[in-house]
């Protein structure tokens, strides 16, 4: 967290960010510096971290749900406050931490805020934005990852409740979540118009959470599978209209792609900052590594790529803010930033050399963590499919 870097970065962003956004950025940097960075190595070793405590501290400082209504614990701020939030989380050298917070704050919370009733916002969103209730997002299944329309979990309407059956895998925050946001298919209905989104408290009978599933990266994300065995979920816990679950989720995914892209882009930016510092210090063949023109060109080239991604994110966020259609640009932003963060991690690891290959090195950890961006919350292939389709490339 080098303040001078943040300041330089912000000089070209005045069109998007107000003074209050810059204050927010400083506040987040301060929070991360004090509450997270000193503990990252220990948490990575443990493959877990105190998510509840971190969310509660963010809640106390009014840093959660920035764009949601004040009456539900938000701050009535704009989309760009969430851009700042995602960007600063992206710099944390443990992407499991940033992902778990984003899942809570930018994947589940918006579904409740956008599609929930007043009562549902009171019940779920208010404690969620205090950090007292943790959200898990239970959509992916073994046979349906990016292809959300292919889910098999069923929700059968029975008088005043739905009977929920099925298994969700790779559920981020699985170990910690108090409430899972679950997407399920109504029997005999077309997937596109026949799904429901349900808020399912973990303590309902029939909810079984597995042990944490070890992953290559994002090791602090507390990923589990969750089995729902004849779980009776009150109909009043359905978010949005009956049948509208899939489209609500699809709409939210398009917006979340921008948030994911912001996180990936600043992760790449942070790696370049660390690598440039390293190259200035590192002496090889009697001179600093940075004095080699090819090293400067390499870093400059990557720097240009990062800036292009950043500007794409801001354009997409502007369209989102103006309630325009972000389908195409958010997919492009996510595709490009996911690929870029992987490329940057590889190039930076090479410039660092073997030290970055050691277990606790930040660049090595970024290298592992960055790989997930091209897989999670919409794979690269899914983004390409979407772009091809929306561009009518085959016509």
């Amino acid at each position: 967290m080098n303040p001078s870097v943040a300041t330089n970065q912000e000089k070209g962003q005045s069109g998007y960010f107000s003074e209050s956004h810059l204050q927010l950025r400083e506040e987040l940097q301060s929070f991360i510096r004090e509450e997270i960075l000193p503990n990252v190595d220990e948490w990575e070793d443990m493959r877990e971290y105190p998510l509840r405590s971190i969310l509660q501290k963010l809640g106390e400082r009014r840093l959660l749900g920035l764009r949601y209504a004040v009456q539900y614990g938000g701050q009535d701020r704009d989309i760009f406050s969430h851009v700042v939030f995602a960007e600063e989380l992206g710099r944390i050298p443990s992407a499991g931490i940033s992902m778990s917070i984003i899942i809570h704050n930018d994947m589940v919370a918006p579904l409740v805020a956008n599609y929930g009733t007043h009562e549902q916002c009171e019940k779920f969103l208010v404690p969620g934005l205090r950090g007292d209730v943790i959200f898990g997002h239970a959509v992916s299944e073994a046979s349906a990852g990016s292809d959300v329309a292919g889910i098999k979990m069923t929700a059968v309407a029975e008088s005043d409740h739905y009977r929920l059956d099925g298994v969700k895998n790779v559920v981020t925050n699985g170990q910690e979540a108090d409430v899972f946001c679950v997407l399920a298919l109504l029997p005999q209905r077309h997937p596109l118009t026949g799904m429901v989104m349900l808020m399912v408290p973990r303590d309902l009978p029939g909810v079984e959470v597995s042990e944490a599933i070890p992953m290559m990266g994002h090791r602090t994300a507390s990923v589990t599978s969750v089995t729902f065995n004849e779980v009776r979920v009150p109909i009043t816990y359905r978010i949005g209209r009956e049948g509208a679950g899939f489209l609500s989720q699809l709409n939210q995914f398009a917006q979340e792609h921008i948030i994911s892209s912001c996180r990936a882009t600043t992760m790449a930016d942070e790696m370049l900052r660390l690598t440039a510092e390293h190259c200035r210090r590192r002496i090889t063949f009697a001179k600093p590594l940075i004095e080699n023109q090819w090293v400067q060109f390499k870093l400059a080239e990557l720097r240009a790529d990062v800036e292009l991604c950043r500007q794409c994110n801001y354009t997409a966020a502007t369209i989102w803010k103006e309630q325009g259609d972000v389908s195409m640009l958010s997919a492009m932003a996510k595709l490009q930033s996911s690929r870029l963060v992987r490329k940057v991690s590889d190039e930076c690891l090479q410039l660092f050399g073997k030290s970055a290959y050691l277990e606790h090195h930040q660049i090595g950890r970024f290298y592992r963590d960055s790989r997930l961006f091209s897989i999670s919350t919409g794979s690269d292939e899914m983004m390409l499919t979407k772009i091809a389709k929306l561009s009518k490339i085959n016509e």
């Binding site: 959300v148 596109l192 009956e242 049948g243 699809l250 259609d325 389908s327």
Partner: protein, 91 residues
């Protein structure tokens, strides 16, 4: 405001443009199944409706059943357009 016939013709056109077809849709047609529409087709349809008629289907929390029958979607759009027109004339 567009006439009922205009809205019908335009909605037919939007749906057919999404799928690259030239089907004349009838009121009872489940166009999603008839045209084998997938999730991205639906996104394009919703965007097309938003851009042409100014109706935000995601934001309006519609009864999703309107997407199951062409006639229901047409009625929904017509009703929303007349609601918008009457609100405009009151101001």
């Amino acid at each position: 405001m567009e006439s009922v016939i205009d809205v019908d013709r335009k909605l037919n056109e939007i749906i057919n443009t999404v799928k690259g077809t030239s089907v004349e849709l009838a009121a009872n047609d489940n166009f999603i199944e008839i045209l084998n529409m997938d999730s991205m087709d639906i996104i394009q349809l919703i965007v097309g409706i938003q851009q042409h008629f100014g109706i935000d289907i995601f934001g309006d929390q519609i009864d999703i059943d309107v997407l199951n029958e062409y006639g229901k979607l047409l009625s929904y759009i017509e009703q929303d357009l007349s609601r918008m027109e009457s609100q405009g004339s009151e101001q």
